[in-house]
Every structure is written in C-alpha cells, then in structure tokens.
Symmetry: C2
C-alpha cells in the first residue's frame, strides 16, 4: 500500500499546477493549495487558483508577500518592463524581476506545510523551465528539498515533490486531459485581459503544449495567431 | 589580496548580528543590512537594526512580510503564546511560531542580495542556536547556501557566509568588544519594554554571554536578577 501523503500544492492557477493537483488527488494525496502573490499577479490568476481548489474541495491559502517586491528590485533589474511577446524561450519572462523567486516561494510553502501538518510540498516545475530559470532545474529542486528537510526536521522532514521536473509541458497537457482538468477555468495569460491574449509568452507556451499533445481545449483566446507563426517570426510589437 | 565581497548582512539589531556587521566591515566587505519583519518584532528591535546600519553608514533594507504570519500558524502551533521566561535552552522560543523561519529569511535575503549586486549574504547564527533550532545547524547553512548558489547562478552564485556558526555567543561578545560594537544600542529583549527586561530567555542568554566573556557592558536592565539564578531555578512566572 502506498504511503499516504498530506501535500501542500504550490498553485498558480495555470495548466501545470492544476494538472499537478488533479494528479495528486487521483493518487490519493490529501491536499491543500498555496498561492504566493508577489504583488504582480493579475486577479485572474488568483481567482483561477482559488477556483481550482474549490472545484477539488481542498483548502486554499493565498499568501500575500507583495511588500517584498520593492526590495527585490535594484539597479541590475527592473520591475517596470513591458510584458514580453513571442516565444517563452527567447524572452526574459516576468518572473525574472523577482530574484530568487522560486526559493522564496518554496520556503514559504514549506512554512505553510509545517503549519498545516503536511509532510511534503509539491511544485509543477517542468522540463521546459530548465533552460529559462536556474531555480527550476532538477538539481535546484533536489538541493532545496534537502534544505527544507533539514530545516523542518522537528516536523517530520518536509520535502519537495516535483513529479513533472523531467517531463514537458506537452506531456502535462496530455496527462491533464486524461485526468479531466477543466482547462477553460485555468489561467495562464500575463496580459491581464478578460480572456487569454493568445500572444504573450505564456499563452504561446500554453498553445504550443496543447497543440503538441494533440489536445483540443475550450479556452477562448483574443488572438487566433498561431503559436507556430509566433515562434517562426516573433512580432516586433503587438500593441504599438 | 583577499577577495572583495559585497555582502547583504541579515540584521536583527541584537548583539550577534551587530558584531557580524562590525567584523565584516573590519575585514573590508562592502555591506548592506537586511531586516525581515514577520510582524512579531518590537519597534525597539527594528530601530536598533536601523541604528546599527546608520552608525556604520551602510544601507538598510526593512522587508515586511507580516502578512505571512497568519498562514504560518496552524493547529500544531500557536502565535498566541506568552513570552517564555528562563533559560533559552529550556524554553520554546518565540521564533518557533514561524515555521521554516530561517529558510524564508535566507531566501528573502538572497533575493535582496541579487537585487543589490551582492555576492553573498551573511548570518550570525552561532553554536548556541544549534540544539534549539534545526535550521541554525552548520548542515542547514551549508545546504541552504548550496541551494541559493544554484538558484542565483545567473547572478554569480550568491552564497551564505556564517562565520559564527561554530563559535559561542560568549565568543561573539568577546569579538564584538574588541571591535567596539556599541552594546547599549543593540537590542535583544523580547518583552517590548523601554529597556531590556533582563529576565526573558534572550536577555538571559545575552547576560550569560557577556558574563562568560568577561565583558562589562553598559546596557540597562529592568531586572538585575542574575542569569545564573535563572538557569539554576527558573521562575514560574514573572508577571503573575
């Protein structure tokens, strides 16, 4: 019989973390979800995360650390950048404006896990993130998990579970489709509109994943521009 | 010639972190100080940290993460506890109400370090902390430093410097005395009074360190009760 886990799932409201939640519940984990808000998230993302937790009838914790942002920018970085367009692999993504973002996120989730009697946290980092973010690589997750286990020794060695770390976003799309993730209720876009723009880096990444997985999903996109076209010839500017 | 470091010093305003700042500046580091407020610090602590930075003419960053506290407590823990009296080694200290506190603190300091072009962060954890907090042990610091270095690879591998990790608080007192740390301007007490109570766990720890180091310091304490008496016979209650 498999070990029963009580898991704090790091939840952005996007397709990856939603699939992770569905998978862990399918495997029998008792879950709660944690969303960390750096003050940069659009309402849509947070609402999607809350909605995913509500659909699964699991508790949701929204942790606001917006006050961090002002201290996590400096001369080398800026928080006053436009949302990048084009393919995610070619652009500096929004997340890069919060240095050490993933370690802070996992440390906070570790604290929430301890406070709620969880034995592990789960993150949906995947293979496509590796070459964009150093803090999404398998070696980072392993090291961070070891660090968290030492820190939480008195609470039963909380560790990090990252089952997607060596699979692609397309494989996540395929898994989520089988598990019945309600795609139209997940939120990915960085633009902050009423519907997905279909053109920002994360929308392009999402469209690509579903396309490669052969999944037809019901999400409405403002721009029907194909992700293949974006990758082949990134637009100079969408708005200007 | 020694490598020049630009260091983000984790600063509580107490005797340990103040000595650390004085030592690093003495060694030629370019420093900035970082105080993380979990919403539990008394004004006195924060003012002491700011004052130490001002005396040394180094920048100070106060990072407020008070919003975390409500999520970092749960059934197993409570934030509604009285300040423990007696010896620090026998009592559950205030810090235990923020689970995974040190990892969150170091992750945040790592972000501040990156944003300010620092190549390392420094923490004043010392040998006396080891058996009280798992996240103050040398193996935690080593693991956390490795994790931070991986996460910050794009910014030159920020690491953690913990020069006091294997020395006692009494040795820190002796070092600080030589370096000329203005003890009366540091702040240790958890009670929130106008002057140090002389009786709470951290005051007792402070008095013990100065006594063992043979350092006479000018701090005023409300209670002249000897730390030796407290350790020998902890008072049941001071206020009741």
């Amino acid at each position: 019989m498999a070990l029963h886990h009580r898991t704090a799932v790091v939840m952005s409201g996007g397709m990856d973390s939603s699939t992770l939640l569905w998978q862990l519940l399918d495997e029998g984990d008792e879950c709660l979800t944690v969303t960390v808000d750096y003050g940069q998230r659009h309402r849509k993302e947070i609402e999607a995360a809350q909605q995913m937790a509500a659909i699964c009838d699991v508790p949701h914790r929204l942790v606001n650390v917006a006050a961090l942002s002002q201290h996590l920018t400096g001369s080398a970085l800026t928080d006053d950048v436009d949302v990048p367009h084009g393919h995610y692999a070619e652009e500096s993504m929004r997340a890069t404006v919060v240095p050490n973002r993933n370690m802070i996120l996992l440390a906070v989730a570790g604290g929430v896990a301890v406070a709620n009697g969880c034995d592990r946290i789960a993150t949906a980092v995947h293979a496509g993130d590796h070459f964009v973010y150093p803090d999404c690589r398998p070696q980072f997750i392993e090291s961070c998990s070891a660090t968290l286990a030492i820190a939480t020794e008195s609470f039963g060695d909380v560790t990090i579970h990252a089952p997607f770390v060596n699979i692609t976003k397309a494989e996540i799309a395929a898994r989520g489709e089988v598990l019945g993730v309600p795609w139209a209720k997940t939120w990915t876009c960085y633009e902050g509109g009423d519907i997905h723009c279909g053109r920002c880096a994360t929308c392009v990444e999402r469209l690509e994943a579903f396309d490669l997985a052969g999944v037809t999903e019901p999400t409405e996109y403002a721009d029907s521009y194909s992700w293949r076209q974006v990758v082949a010839s990134p637009p100079e500017s969408v708005n200007g």
